[in-house]
């Protein structure tokens, strides 16, 4: 039986477990994106960090304008498990629409395209993570907003702030080889889910 870890007490083991899961999930998501675009997509060296919420602006580029897709993660056993947050800088969101739609002038169309990409990325992420852990992990339909990177996510962070003053974030960047497209993928699990991952990975008896 494992006790509920609180995020501020997480150590290397918890962060490694999160990295392992994140790597597999985002790896699969990168493959899906690459197939969809017909271009090679590379994944940066991921980071897993514990961030004190008041210092989030040091970690998320707070005032950068992004197109952001947020999905909730639900695992069958524990219910709500956390969030996946994918952001596209303005330039990349335009470029993605140009590749997929041939033109980026209709903002509504661009928005739905980005949501659909977010949908595909989060589904791939959940598939791979679920397969690795032997669980059922489902993404909720995506929510979408275009604003300051921190303003898009603050409703989600508020949700997590009810339980803790800290969030744990797994973050990696997806980059297309010609540097025209980039996306930031963040996995923000709740503490229950990280404890569950640890148990499933056999890192805790």
């Amino acid at each position: 039986m494992i006790g509920l870890h609180s995020i501020e007490d997480f150590g290397e083991m918890e962060l490694d477990a999160l990295k392992e899961l994140g790597n597999i999930g985002v790896g699969k998501a990168a493959t899906s994106l690459s197939q969809m675009l017909g271009r090679r997509i590379e994944m940066s060296v991921p980071e897993a960090v514990i961030v004190k919420i008041p210092e989030l602006h040091k970690y998320i580029n707070a005032e950068e304008m992004v197109a952001g897709v947020v999905t909730g993660l639900e695992d069958i056993e524990n219910g709500h498990s956390g969030f996946l947050y994918i952001t596209f800088p303005e330039k990349s969101s335009k470029k993605l629409a140009e590749i997929l739609l041939g033109d980026s002038s209709d903002e509504e169309m661009v928005d739905s395209t980005l949501m659909e990409i977010g949908n595909i990325l989060s589904s791939s992420f959940c598939d791979a993570a679920a397969e690795m852990l032997g669980i059922v992990l489902l993404p909720t339909p995506p929510s979408f907003g275009r604003d300051f990177a921190i303003a898009v996510i603050d409703a989600v962070v508020s949700q997590l702030a009810e339980k803790s003053d800290y969030v744990v974030i797994f973050e990696t960047k997806l980059e297309e080889s010609e540097n025209e497209i980039e996306a930031l993928v963040m996995l923000i699990p709740n503490e229950k889910f990280v404890s569950y991952i640890l148990k499933l990975l056999g890192m805790v008896e």
Binding site: I53, L56, V70, D111, S143, F144, A151, D154, V157, S158
Partner: protein
Amino acid sequence: MGSEILVGIGEFRVAKGAVLKTIGLGSCVGIALYDPKLRLGGLAHVMLPQSGNGTKRSAKYADHAVEMMTEAMERLGSDRKRIVAKMAGGAQIFKHMTMDMLRIGDRNAEAIRTILRDYGIRIVSEDLGGDEGRTVYFFTNDGRMLVKYSRGGELWI
């Protein structure tokens, strides 16, 4: 103009003369309290409308933030009767939203109005709601608040 002090998410700061700044308010609300006589002001970046039973005191909750900021100002010689409030934020950033719990901006704004009323603190101006993120600057030397919108444009309140 005084120096600039950054207020993080869920924090508050009180200052005399300095410019208090908080960035990237989405559903969160920036609450400023001001004592015009002492030219003393405070700014909080609140995330949640109401603390629960037995929760640790934290400025992330609107009720605690108002309480803590008022107390801090009183310690510096302020009188609650003189304190007035300004606030900005509480937007609905998501254009497409599937999770109802993310609709927190309106709840924040409503809760803060009630709390301030209970404290007898008058709201002199506000810029709440809408669908745009905000960065706010609160000038504690004269009580003005500058709201900058994510898509450009600004407003003095």
